[in-house]
Each structure stands twice: as structure tokens, then as C-alpha cells.
């Protein structure tokens, strides 16, 4: 029984911790991208259209990294394939 509980603890901890790390760094990247885009719009307001479109595409790319982490932690929490081997 001890090993099973340890397995569950490690799974939950990993899911939470990976969300923390995996949201932190994309958030830093998105913040940088946003601030740069705002700066360049402020400098050149007539280019707001293309800049914001490119910004959205870039943010989507960055966001997908966080989404990968979300998917991994959901798999760990709700559809863990290893549970079958631990709890026979």
C-alpha cells in the first residue's frame, strides 16, 4: 500500500508543479511579446493592424506550450496510463 500512496503523491505533485513551471515561462515570453508590440504600436500607430495580427499569431504559438503542459498534467491526473500497473 505504501508504494501506491507514494505513486499518487508523486503524480499529484508532478501535475501541480509542471503547471506552475509550464505557465511561468510562457507567461514571461507572452509579456515580453506584448510589451514590445505595444511599444511599437505607440511608436507607429498606423502599423497597428499588421502588428496586432502578428502578435496574435505569436501569442498563439507561445500559448500552445502552456497548453502542452496542461494536457500532460490532465493526463497525469485523470487518465494516467500507469495507474493500471500500480493498482492491479
Amino acid at each position: 500500500m505504501q508504494g501506491e500512496i507514494l505513486f499518487l503523491c508523486v503524480t499529484v505533485f508532478t501535475a501541480g508543479f509542471s503547471i506552475a513551471l509550464g505557465v511561468m515561462f510562457p507567461a514571461i515570453g507572452q509579456g515580453k511579446a506584448c510589451s514590445q508590440a505595444l511599444e511599437s504600436i505607440a511608436r507607429q500607430p498606423e502599423a497597428a493592424g499588421p502588428i496586432s495580427r502578428t502578435l496574435f499569431v505569436g501569442l498563439a504559438m507561445l500559448e500552445s506550450l502552456a497548453i502542452y503542459v496542461l494536457v500532460v498534467s490532465f493526463i497525469l491526473l485523470f487518465a494516467n496510463p500507469l495507474l493500471r500497473y500500480v493498482f492491479k
Binding site: 495580427r53 500552445s64 497548453i67 502542452y68 496542461l70 494536457v71
Partner: protein, 221 residues
């Protein structure tokens, strides 16, 4: 919570399980078809008020495509416009009682991404010809050809995962808030999910236009 990841089966038709997602997709399709039929039944050169709504949508998408891939607006409009309307409607459909947004199921989003995956070589070959299209795989150097193929596959997967993760994450947050306090707490998150859904539809549309226009542009390099 389990139900969100594994959508429960409504009924089994000829051995194929029909899930709640599929039924919601039918509802969204019926809504879109009925709306377009009713609004374009008696089209006039000077648009009526409701016809104006549809013209606004079509012109906005045409303008978006034309800006990113000049000269190809009319060619991409049917595919891209359908994607935008369907994804936008089905993201918001999750807020309707009894419906589950179809895009919160990975199967739906993967199917949509596969449409884009196959549309890229289709448009590339029809516009540039078979030889020129496949030559673009070898463009900087033939060593990079496998990487072109890998990037086409990974970008399809990421297109599908991004839409799925956003919409499903939003639904799970609403479900958790609903467990905490059913009356008022989920409301701000529901309002926010309208915004997220439309943004995600826009991003899916823009990215598919980017991929399509990259396939059809006359290779300058």
C-alpha cells in the same frame, strides 16, 4: 470531471458510439445552415438589416485573407470562412444548456486540423503545380526536406491541441467554479469564455491562412 475528458456516449448507431459532442456538432451545423438559409433566402442588391450581418462576416474574413495572402482571397474564402464560423459558433455553443462545445473534444479539433493539413498540399498543387510544390520541400537544401515534413505534422498537432486545450480548460474551470458556488461565481468566467472562444477561432483562422499562403506563394528563394 471524468465526463469532460471522456464524453459520455448518447447512443450506439450501427456499432459506432455517438457521443454528446457529435450531437452538439449536429446542433451547431443545423443552426449555421438554418441561419444562412433564412438570411440569404431573398437577397437584394441593397442589403436588408439581417443580410447586412452576413455580408459583414464575409467581408471581414475576405479582408483578413486578402491582407495576408493578396490575390487568393476568393480562393481561400470558402474553407477559411467555414472554419472561422464553425469554430466560433461551437466555442460559444458550450454556454448553451444541454450542449457541450464540440471543440472541447480532441477528436473534433484534430479533424479540423487535418482538414487544414490536407488543404495545404491541395491548394499548393492546384496553384503551383506538382513539380513546383514538391520542389519547395527541397528549397534551401535537400537535407532539410525531412524537417519540412516534421514541421507540417507537428504544426497540425499543435493546431489541434491549442484549440482543444483552451476550450476544454475553460470548460473545466467553469465546472470547478460551478461545484464551489453554482449561482454567481461561474458567470465572469463564462463571459470570459466567450472572449476566449472567439479569439481562438480567430487564431485558428489566421494560422490556417498563414499555412495556406506559405504553400501557395511563388517561391522567391
Amino acid at each position: 470531471m471524468e465526463e469532460i475528458l471522456n464524453p459520455h456516449v448518447f447512443f450506439v448507431f450501427l456499432g459506432i458510439p455517438v457521443t454528446k459532442t457529435v450531437v452538439s456538432t449536429w446542433v451547431v451545423m443545423a443552426f449555421l445552415v438554418l441561419l444562412s438559409f433564412l438570411l440569404t433566402r431573398k437577397m437584394r442588391p441593397v442589403p436588408t438589416r439581417l443580410q447586412n450581418v452576413l455580408e459583414l462576416f464575409v467581408e471581414a474574413i475576405l479582408h483578413l485573407v486578402e491582407e495576408m495572402s493578396p490575390g487568393n482571397g476568393k480562393r481561400f474564402l470558402p474553407l477559411v470562412g467555414t472554419l472561422a464560423l464553425f469554430i466560433g459558433t461551437s466555442d460559444v455553443a458550450g454556454l448553451v444548456p444541454w450542449l457541450k462545445s464540440p471543440t472541447s473534444d480532441f477528436n473534433t479539433t484534430l479533424a479540423l486540423a487535418l482538414v487544414v493539413f490536407f488543404a495545404v498540399p491541395f491548394y499548393g498543387i492546384t496553384i503551383k503545380g506538382v513539380r513546383n510544390y514538391f520542389r519547395s520541400y527541397l528549397s534551401p537544401s535537400p537535407i532539410l526536406a525531412p524537417f519540412h515534413v516534421i514541421s507540417e505534422i507537428t504544426r497540425t498537432v499543435s493546431l489541434a491541441l491549442r484549440l482543444f486545450g483552451n476550450i476544454m480548460g475553460e470548460e473545466i474551470i467553469i465546472a470547478i467554479l460551478f461545484l464551489l458556488s453554482p449561482l454567481f461565481l461561474p458567470l465572469p468566467m463564462m463571459l470570459f469564455s466567450i472572449f476566449t472562444g472567439i479569439i481562438q477561432a480567430y487564431i485558428f483562422t489566421v494560422l490556417s491562412v498563414v499555412y495556406l499562403s506559405a504553400a501557395v506563394e511563388s517561391s522567391g528563394h
